[in-house]
Symmetry: C2
Subunit: 148 residues, 2 copies
């Protein structure tokens, strides 16, 4: 699964522990690399560890997000969605959101070009606005294959 020793160290350095619930939640991401909502994660974890509560899922997601291990997104469907940070497991990608059926498509087809462009833009923006950029989100909205 996800590289544990690494994670363990990162959490410890920040004064946190890699507990069973937290591992279980990370494993859900590893098994199911999608854009999961808190409830979906809770349900998935609950199958193997019925004892783990929803509040813990929220707390853990918040923790992982703050540590940068997980990204938090809002695709407009009324709940937050989370995915493992690209550095942890997935390649850098952006999103296309179907506003009809809600499907979210990850794409990384033209990433090299995009990243290059974004990087340059970030430099210019940072300079002009004295704004330190840490991350970005690029979302396209429209209708998918099946919904047109």
């Amino acid at each position: 699964m996800v590289g544990r020793p690494w994670l363990h160290g990162r959490l410890r350095n920040a004064g946190f522990r890699l507990t069973l619930p937290r591992q279980a939640i990370l494993n859900v991401f590893a098994r199911n690399p999608k854009h999961l909502s808190a409830e979906e994660i809770f349900l998935s974890v609950h199958r193997n560890y019925p004892g783990i509560g929803l509040a813990t899922v929220y707390r853990t997601l918040d923790l992982l997000t703050q540590m940068g291990l997980v990204f938090k997104f809002d695709f407009g469907d009324g709940r937050s969605r989370y995915e493992l940070a690209s550095e942890v497991i997935k390649e850098h990608h952006h999103h296309m959101v179907c506003t009809r059926c809600g499907q979210i498509i990850d794409y990384s087809d033209f990433m090299k070009k995009e990243i290059k462009f974004i990087k340059e833009l970030e430099v210019e923006l940072s300079k002009k606005h004295k704004f330190k950029i840490n991350s970005h989100q690029i979302h396209f909205y429209g209708s998918c294959n099946r919904c047109q």
Copy 2:
């Protein structure tokens, strides 16, 4: 304020009316061209029209969003934020969000370049994924001038 006859016509064509509450809400946007939350809009409207309720604000925002007159955003602060569509009053821009103080900076400094890039990307993505793209959002997250 915002071009009324135009709006009136657009709403009518879709079977809606340009009522006083709706005008009041549009005027808030015209006076205060920011990224307003429903509650902020409600409070602003409430000063001049104490009779207008929060539910109406939500309904109107929903209507305007569906008609494409207003864009709905989520910058991660737990509430939706709205702004007039670029065609109505503002120039096309993207956003930088300060994750410390929540400030949202509009920028349109390098828009020509960005739009060109996005347009090309959209063509390629549409073709490859058979996905009809209607709109996009580009957000940068980091720390602003004062928060570094």
